[in-house]
């Protein structure tokens, strides 16, 4: 049974030293631990994180090289970065946990699930960019152009806050260096080894990572489920946070059993 939602929790900030990095994280909530890995835009306030913290102990890491952290020129690859993030979770005493990754960090999450199968209980990939069309290029353009790529309804989003150009440039350089090829044969060849049940979520109007890519994850990851959130673009949490939270929290809680409805359709007793 779904746990009662609480008021929006207050996230506390902490740091953990791993591999020579001081990794910043935000934590809130109680219950089973869920590690959140952010997308290429960095660690930002997220309605999804707020909602999940009502039911789980949420730890949202800031990947080294993002935000105000120093330039990360030491992580050699996404797989290398995955080992760092797994170690960061271990340093916080998390023997095993749920792992939720968005967009850019989906390859990190997949490598974590491959290389640390006994630590990852369940995995959720939101708008993942781990498997991309052959001719895919990273989104770019003016703020208006980017908004049209990120959202199904950009007109409904608040005006974006101007970001520090140095931080932006640092983050873009890191993602470009680590991203790797659109199709990574080494990674895709090992997806069949993933033991954790995996939920892969796409917005139906994702103009950055087309929802059709979801079928490849479904094909390759043994215990995986592919879900589309209707009328959402790439930034699903911004456009349909409740719908995203509903399916993600249910999957984190019940894994494969999430396909069994618990809906109450009684109108009047």
């Amino acid at each position: 049974m779904a746990k009662t939602q609480q008021a929006d929790p207050k996230f506390s900030e902490g740091h953990v030293a791993v591999d020579g990095f001081q990794i910043r994280y935000l934590e809130a909530g109680k219950g089973d631990p869920v590690v959140m890995l952010h997308g290429a835009g960095g660690l930002k306030p997220s309605r999804l994180n707020d909602l999940l913290a009502g039911q789980f102990r949420v730890i949202a890491f800031e990947i080294p090289g993002f935000g105000h952290s120093p330039v990360n020129d030491r992580s050699k690859s996404m797989r290398d970065l995955a080992r760092t993030m797994t170690d960061a979770a271990a340093k916080l005493g998390l023997d095993h946990y749920g792992l939720v990754a968005t967009s850019f960090s989906s390859r990190v999450a997949l490598w974590e699930a491959i290389d640390a199968p006994d630590r990852i209980d369940v995995m959720v990939l939101i708008s993942p960019s781990a498997i991309l069309p052959e001719n895919w290029t990273a989104p770019s353009g003016s703020p208006d152009q980017l908004a049209k790529l990120m959202y199904a309804h950009p007109e409904k989003q608040p005006m974006p806050v101007a970001e520090d150009p140095e931080i932006l440039a640092k983050q873009q350089a890191l993602t470009a260096r680590l991203r790797g090829p659109n199709r990574d044969p080494e990674l895709e060849g090992m997806l069949r080894n993933i033991k954790a049940p995996a939920l892969v979520v796409f917005g139906t109007h994702d103009a950055v990572t087309p929802s059709e890519m979801g079928r490849i994850y479904k094909e390759r990851i043994p215990s995986s489920y592919f879900v589309m959130v209707y009328d959402a673009g790439h930034a699903i949490a911004a456009e349909r946070p409740e719908a995203l939270h509903g399916v993600v929290s249910d999957f984190l809680e019940r894994r494969e059993a999430f396909i069994v409805s618990r809906s109450n359709t009684v109108i009047n007793p």
């Binding site: 094909e219 879900v227 719908a243 399916v247």
Partner: protein, 347 residues
């Protein structure tokens, strides 16, 4: 299809089931099948099936079921299911039914997806204010259910499915020729964005022209250009030997209103939810008015006008009303097939 004179039939919608005469009803189904088979023999390209509820006017609450029953009797023509009223139907089941029908008919389905008319929303107590959103989400889900090769979940606003995996797949790939049926700009815009055809019923030519212009513009913005076969116009046809006779027949057989009439208070309540679906009904003065009234040349010229000015490439003609009998409908179909249809096919 009613064989009871109107004064014996309770007016208004819904019509009480107590009015249903089982012998007349059965005869209606037999004669309806005969007409559909005759249409196929006369060379009509499609036989179309629509969904209506709680009325003696059209005894087909499930269009796909009627189409399936006719598969062995309609040998050449396509089975145009025009179509499922989406707010009343489970969209995944719609996708399943049409895929199944496409296989049973060996690839002869044409699919129509629509929001429906205000009386129909009340069939299953669907909130009129939600029908536009229901229809749009349903259409998108039907298309995904047909085309997604892996099981998928759907987190919609109105529909939630955790695992959709439609079998059989449509025989026609990626899916049967599909039309969005509706007289709103939203219908045309969805059709344009998804490379689907557009079907419009009964509206005057100026309204159709406006809808088509919007549809064509949105299609061009989406990177493609509609051809005539992408546009259906459904119309009543009152055909006679002469224009004068046709007008007399129209006054006798083609009434306004009919068994879809609802109380004005009900209309008002529907309009509070969504006034849009009431527009074509209001413009038409209710259902059952004939767009094309006249002798063969007049009918052809009017159809040609719709083709030339609005790009209509498919004309879905209705010959019967509750006041016409089986013999007259058979006669009118044959007359049209002989005197008008060959010229229409040349357009």
């Amino acid at each position: 299809m009613s064989y009871m004179s109107p004064q014996e039939m309770t007016a208004g919608w819904p019509t009480p089931p107590a009015n249903y005469d089982r012998e007349i009803g059965l005869r209606n189904f037999h004669e309806g099948a005969e007409r559909m088979q005759f249409a196929d023999e006369l060379g009509f390209d499609w036989v179309s099936f629509s969904e209506h509820h709680y009325t003696p006017s059209i005894l087909a609450p499930n269009a796909a079921l009627v189409a399936a029953a006719m598969i062995k009797h309609i040998r050449q023509a396509k089975l145009a299911v025009l179509g499922h009223t989406l707010p009343l139907n489970n969209p995944v089941k719609v996708a399943e039914e049409l895929a199944l029908l496409d296989n049973l008919s060996e690839g002869r389905v044409v699919a129509g997806l629509l929001r429906g008319t205000p009386n129909e929303f009340q069939t299953y107590s669907v909130n009129p204010a939600e029908t536009r959103e229901l229809a749009l989400e349903s259409m998108e889900l039907v298309l995904k259910a047909w085309t997604e090769p892996q099981p998928f979940g759907w987190e919609g606003r109105h529909y939630q499915y955790r695992s959709v995996s439609v079998w059989p797949r449509p025989l026609q790939q990626p899916f049967p020729p599909t039309y969005v049926l509706g007289s709103s700009h939203e219908s045309g815009e969805f059709a344009a964005a998804n490379h689907l055809g557009l079907g419009v019923s009964f509206v005057p030519i100026n309204v159709l022209s406006e809808l088509f212009t919007n549809y064509r513009q949105k299609s061009l913005e989406a990177g493609w250009e509609p051809v005539p076969e992408n546009i259906i116009y459904r119309a009543g046809v009152c055909l006679a030997e002469t224009d004068e006779q046709a007008m007399q027949d129209a006054n006798r057989y083609w009434m306004r209103g009919g068994n879809f009439n609802m109380k004005s208070s009900v209309y008002s309540a529907i309009a509070k939810g969504d006034a849009n679906p009431l527009r074509p009904l209001a413009a038409a003065g209710g259902l059952y008015f004939a767009t094309f009234i006249g002798g063969p040349d007049t009918i052809f010229n009017k159809i040609k006008q719709f083709h030339d000015e609005c790009g209509v490439g498919v004309i879905d003609v209705i010959f019967q009303t509750p006041r016409t009998n089986h013999a007259k409908v058979m006669h009118d179909m044959e007359f049209y097939a002989k005197e008008v249809m060959p010229r229409v096919k040349e357009l």
